[in-house]
């Protein structure tokens, strides 16, 4: 039903259903996108600059595990589960450098649904780490809040098994930042889930590059199927 035009409508161009011209909204959205793009770039640069020494130290510890035959397991929920997958893919099918044994625990729906159904979602990572994890392996958990119960349970199990534990978190690090089970918690200091994830992607990439660098020039056994840049 059409509403009756009011004298003050010009103050609220978007409030009613009569809006027809998309151009002003398009201009607003483009400006907003520009501003957020710039914010993301600033956060990324700050995160990597401030975290540089920490990232190198974590990468060295990870490289030591890999060099000794250790494997890494990545995990996370939602968008962070896709970050866990991305890191595993980068390590196993790298654009350059050494292939590394890294597997995402967020990937197998049979295992995830079995554990969720039979026990509960809080054990989906810890139970897998109990089965797969060995002393000298690495647990890498991705979270934006740093508060996910199943990640904290995973880290606790990993520590119990003598694994190296690395967490990526946002905000102030949340419970992961305060947990003794997370030996290295890399925090992207922002309270926007999206901006945190964007910089976490960069943190993961830099971590990977530093691990490659710490492992030294190895034979370049790169997956021939890997597509680069295209």
């Amino acid at each position: 039903m059409a509403r009756t035009p009011e004298a003050t409508d010009f103050l609220y161009p978007f409030i009613e259903r009569e809006e027809r011209d998309a151009a002003p909204l398009m201009a607003d959205l483009a400006r907003s996108a520009q501003a957020k793009w710039a914010q993301s770039a600033v956060l990324r640069a700050e995160t990597l600059q401030q975290g540089d020494a920490r990232l190198r130290a974590v990468a060295t510890a990870m490289a030591t595990c890999f060099a000794a035959g250790g494997r890494a397991f990545t995990f996370g929920n939602g968008g962070s589960a896709t970050d866990a997958d991305a890191f595993a893919q980068l390590c196993t099918r790298p654009p350059w450098g050494e292939q590394l044994p890294v597997r995402s625990l967020a990937f197998d729906q049979a295992v995830l649904t079995a554990l969720s159904n039979d026990i509960g979602f809080e054990v989906v990572f810890s139970r897998q780490l109990e089965a797969y994890g060995r002393r000298g392996d690495i647990a890498i958990g991705f979270s934006t809040s740093g508060n996910s119960d199943n990640l904290l349970a995973g880290f606790a199990q990993a520590r119990k098994r003598g694994m190296l534990t690395v967490g990526l978190a946002g905000y102030d690090g949340g419970r992961m930042g305060a947990s003794e089970d997370v030996e290295h918690c890399l925090v992207v200091r922002s309270d926007s889930v999206h901006r945190v994830q964007e910089s976490q992607a960069a943190v993961a990439h830099v971590l990977w590059a530093f691990v490659q660098s710490a492992l030294g020039p190895a034979e370049q056994l790169t997956d021939p199927d890997q597509k680069v840049a295209s």
């Binding site: 978007f14 959205l29 957020k36 964007e198």
Partner: protein
């Protein structure tokens, strides 16, 4: 492949591109967001695919299905099942009014073939990528990064689809702009039978059954070489007037 000269290539904290305005890409994002909001409002489903980087497809879908901001509506976004022929899977899945979003390099043949079928299937197509661009007109919306570093490109894809999600929801709150576009031109290429793309379903002699956004049609194929199922043809006044390409 050898490492780039700078091992810390992805670090590049003060690279020239970092804070640079994204220019036309921001306008492309805004237009794509409005198009997606319109399709969602009309009941469309968004199909997400990324043959090389499946995690990007999963990330896009989860953003829309389970928004990070409480109170935003859950919108139907789905990952196209991996490991199968992309065109064939989409053909079986999409319905007129849907959307297909791909994150892929400009030379990904399966994505190009899927996007080419957008008008025959009645789906809005959106191609996100970096490096060499796909040919002009390869998709309804092309969101392209001028970025040669594969890792930086991957990071920027995340920003792109986060913004795509956010802007789509802003558009969602402008119902006046989400109505179907009404055609008012006196002679309109879309409304007149000016040569519409269709996909061949089956062939019988000089006739074929084709898929169009409006459903199935039986057409005459006398004036083109006998097409095969999966082929794209241009239909005018009940006849195939040219074959657009071979299908699979």
């Amino acid at each position: 492949m050898t490492p780039p000269s700078e091992v810390i290539s992805p670090l590049a904290p003060a690279g020239a591109d970092e804070g640079a305005p994204i220019g036309g890409l921001a306008d492309d994002l805004a237009r794509a967001s409005l198009a997606l909001a319109r399709r969602f409002k009309a009941g469309g489903t968004m199909w997400c695919c990324s043959p090389t980087w499946p995690f990007h497809a999963h990330h896009i879908a989860v953003e829309f299905v389970h928004p990070v901001i409480m109170g935003k509506p859950a919108l139907p976004a789905v990952v196209v099942p991996e490991g199968r022929d992309l065109v064939s899977t989409l053909r079986a899945s999409v319905r007129s009014g849907d959307m297909v979003v791909a994150v892929a390099g400009g030379d990904e043949p399966a994505v190009a073939a899927a996007m080419r079928r957008g008008d025959a299937w009645g789906v809005e197509t959106l191609w996100i990528g970096a490096g060499p661009r796909p040919p002009a007109g390869a998709a309804h919306h092309v969101l392209w990064l001028d970025q040669d570093d594969p890792l930086r490109a991957s990071e920027q894809f995340v920003i792109l689809y986060h913004l795509l999600w956010e802007l789509t929801h802003v558009c969602w709150e402008h119902p006046g702009l989400l109505r179907p576009e009404v055609c008012t031109d006196e002679v309109c290429i879309t409304c007149s039978d000016e040569g519409r793309p269709a996909e061949v379903i089956s062939v019988q002699g000089d006739e074929a059954v084709v898929r169009t956004p409006d459903g199935r049609e039986r057409i005459d194929t006398t004036i083109i070489d006998t097409p095969s199922p999966g082929d794209l043809v241009l239909v005018h006044a009940g006849s195939a007037i040219t074959s657009l390409e071979s299908g699979r």
